[in-house]
């Protein structure tokens, strides 16, 4: 059985370490995708300039559009760069989601589950803005 604790010493699963890795992986993933996208663009066209606008899209619609292009096998430097930005924007969102699950499942802390649920709800609403 996995034991959860926020206190140092004698714990196998530490939420801080887990959340720390989410943030680190999110940042590294985003930077890697941006580097791949820009390198590909440079190799293909000899320029690093990317001229396109997201035109007032919300993050979820933006993600669906990217996924549709990817499933149709349309992959381009532009999509990789967009994915890099998406991964970065989703990193703090995932951090809040994992904290909420931790407070709910591991700590059975109703108060902080509600607090993180509120943060998550406001973020979800804001990411649906268009």
């Amino acid at each position: 059985m996995i034991r959860f604790s926020t206190h140092p010493g004698g714990c196998r699963f530490q939420i801080e370490t887990f959340v720390g890795y989410i943030l680190l992986l999110g940042l590294l993933g985003s930077v890697t995708l941006l580097l791949i996208g820009m390198s590909w663009r440079w190799l293909e066209t000899g320029t690093l300039q990317l001229d396109y606008s997201l035109g007032g899209m919300n993050l979820f619609r933006f993600m669906v559009a990217e996924m549709q292009l990817l499933t149709h096998g349309t992959i381009s430097p532009r999509i990789i760069v967009s994915l890099g930005i998406t991964v970065l924007l989703l990193t703090p969102y995932l951090r809040v989601l994992s904290s909420m699950l931790y407070f709910a499942i591991a700590e059975h802390d109703i108060k902080y589950t509600c607090f993180s649920g509120f943060v998550l709800a406001v973020l979800t609403y804001s990411l649906f803005l268009s």
Binding site: G20, L24, L27, S30, L50, T91, P92, Y93, L123
Partner: protein, 278 residues
Amino acid sequence: MQVSFELAFVVSIAAGLVGAMSGMGGGIVLIPGLTLLGVDIKHAIAVSIVSVIATSSGAASAYLRDRITNLKVGMFLEMFTIVGALVGASIAVVSARTLLFILFGAVLLASWVALLLQSQEYITLADQQDCVSRWLELEGSYYDQAVRATISYRAIRGYLGGPAMFAAGLIAGLLGIGAGAVKVLIQEVLMRLPTKVSTTTSNLIIGVTALAGSSVYLAAGLIDPGLAAPVILGVSTGAFAGTRLLVRLTNTAVRRFFLVVLLFLGIEMIVRGIRGAL
């Protein structure tokens, strides 16, 4: 105006470097830098707030693994900063550009004054906790390597810290910066949290606050991926190098250099704002 990848990348590295070395964050140098290159201030603010997520995630991941960050304090305060950031970013989208220049200049000059008057006084931790902060469980402990002891602390005035954080979020969303200095000040002075806890928890809050602000700029169509890519890469590189360079440079040298940069950029932004208004 379209700025070349290379120029945006170089300015972003410099902003990340100076931001990490001064502890003020990258946005405060990045936005004036980008506007000097000819980028529209609203696009500069939008792209800066996205880059703030990158620098905050990088720093917060290291601090979290050191187990100094207080997740509960962070989550409680985030409830206020994200609402503030949404309001701030919505105001920025409809504001006149001249007003944003003047406001940004004013924040730069306020940071200059804060840095000039900065004292090294230690925060005295509170013995008694009010009932609201106790109910909110705003307390914790961490192992301080410098003094080789476990420091236990209890925050106070959580009922004031929350609303004050709304203002910090508003500044962050409005101007596209982390506003870490304001967040640290609220936690230290108002809530009496130890400096290390305030700094690390502030870093965690900055990322979520920046995401709330970014979503408004994304919806307004102000995030340009062609500019965001070099800025995210540049600021991350600069911040990474800055934290390592810091050990080799003296604090006084960094502080003097940053005082000059802040004063110059603050005056320059206000002058441009006034000129634009005339």
